[in-house]
Point group: C2
Chain length 279, copies 2
């Protein structure tokens, strides 16, 4: 990553972490619940989705400070999904980012409840943000749609059905719902805060979708290289075809960035860093 | 229950069930996820909380049809909490209302995800209801506060800590957070839809809190009579003291109903049916 993009990410992460610390609930929350919520939120996430929200808002000329509570809400929803995905009845992961998963440290019951609490609190933050009521309602709709039964949760259900008899299209649908919907919501909410019109929102949505697919296929290719056993897009269509689709989605994303009326320099650098190796 | 109250409950249940069927998500939702959501929602719940919401709205002169989507959202949140409470890592219940629990029918992973989906979709319904943006924001705040880390989820964490060395006050705090907060939200949201002022909302909140405590202590007394092993309020303070507190909370609730400027006949009948035996 160029020094500039790195600097933006470092600065934005600090802003987001400070706001997360400020907006995690305290009053009336049992310490036994607050501890796993805090542990999960501060266990080394890259804050990619909230950073993209702030940068989309700023790139479109909006006041990204107004997006900060919404960025935290999105990160809380993302974090809850990781806690629940890691549970023994789901992926049964003992470690995430090198640290023991929430259920390994606090037990399964508190992991379920800490996830539930983060999800619920995210909507409290959205509903209580300093913003017009219209904006709060729109953001709540975005967040609920992207993370709900036709978005992230639905995608996780499809993910559980991935097996070698599934084709590439099924895997792409899974990635769209489980991963891309949240990236799309991130940049859409940034655009909503900036007051973008419907035409721009449409382009921003498609950019988020393409970015999310690239992000997940890249992950699948890395997994494939490491010869892990999990079925994914690279296994479904082969590494060459996956690389070719990644390039195609990247090209579409670059094309969208060119037509969105914004300062797109951060996103160009971010994509170069994440996906440049597949050019 | 007098025939009248019974009739109100039967009619309201049908209204709520019809609206639940209409508002459960379909578009883009994997069938494997929709099935456990539907199973949980339509497994014989009494719909007490949403009925109280509608009746509080109507009793205060509001249009209860406007409260119907919010009533469904509240019932979805209540239902998700039952699914997660029943999980093996929590209460490990095989049956609820005589039917196998969601995880017994669909497996643990889908039970976790169906709960997550119902919670998320509830906020989508609130944010998308036909109502002013202000009302949608207020209802989202109420629902998130009542069901979140300082409400229902926090109460479930305290519930996990109930043991014979806990005193009555600890059990009451647990009941307030886990149970009464949602009853309070139910009647508060009904009052918000009816356009109640802050003074009335304050009284309505306290009524919901008292009603919720009565409801839970009655449950504790029934459990105690059946000599179940679970630690509860009746075990903490003894059955006589629990009965006496139930009467006291009931009296306070009746007193609140008298001063709330509303047609309180439904609530009088409901309380007589539920708590009359403890007079």
């Amino acid at each position: 990553m160029t020094v500039e993009a790195h600097e933006v990410i470092a600065r934005r992460s600090r802003e987001i972490d400070a706001e997360l610390a400020r907006t995690l609930p305290t009053d009336g929350v049992p310490e036994q619940l607050r501890a796993p919520m805090e542990y999960a939120i501060f266990s080394g996430g890259k804050r990619l989705r909230p950073i993209m929200m702030l940068e989309m808002c700023a790139g479109l000329g909006g006041d990204e400070r107004q997006a900060l509570p919404f960025a935290c809400a999105l990160e809380m929803v993302h974090t809850y999904s990781l806690i629940h995905d890691d549970l023994p009845c789901m992926d049964n992961d003992d470690y995430r980012r090198g640290k023991p998963t929430v259920h390994r440290v606090f037990g399964e019951a508190l992991a379920v409840l800490a996830g539930d609490a983060l999800l619920t609190h995210a909507f409290w933050i959205v509903a209580s943000a300093r913003a017009t009521e219209r904006l709060r309602v729109e953001v709540a709709q975005e967040l609920a749609r992207a993370s709900g039964p036709a978005g992230m949760v639905g995608g996780q259900v499809l993910d559980m059905q991935l097996s070698p008899d599934r084709d590439g299209d099924f895997v792409l649908t899974t990635h769209r719902m489980k991963t891309a919907a949240m990236f799309s919501a991130a940049v859409r909410i940034g655009a909503l805060v900036a007051g973008a019109n419907e035409a721009v929102l449409g382009l921003v949505s498609r950019f988020g979708d393409m970015f999310g697919l690239c992000y997940q296929i890249r992950d699948d290719l890395l997994d494939f290289t490491k010869a892990r056993e999990r079925f994914n897009y690279a296994r479904a269509v082969g590494a060459n075809e996956a690389r070719s689709m990644l390039r195609e989605f990247c090209d579409t994303a670059y094309g969208l960035l060119r037509v969105i009326p914004m300062n797109e320099s951060f996103f160009l650098k971010l994509m170069e860093e994440l996906f440049g190796g597949y050019d």
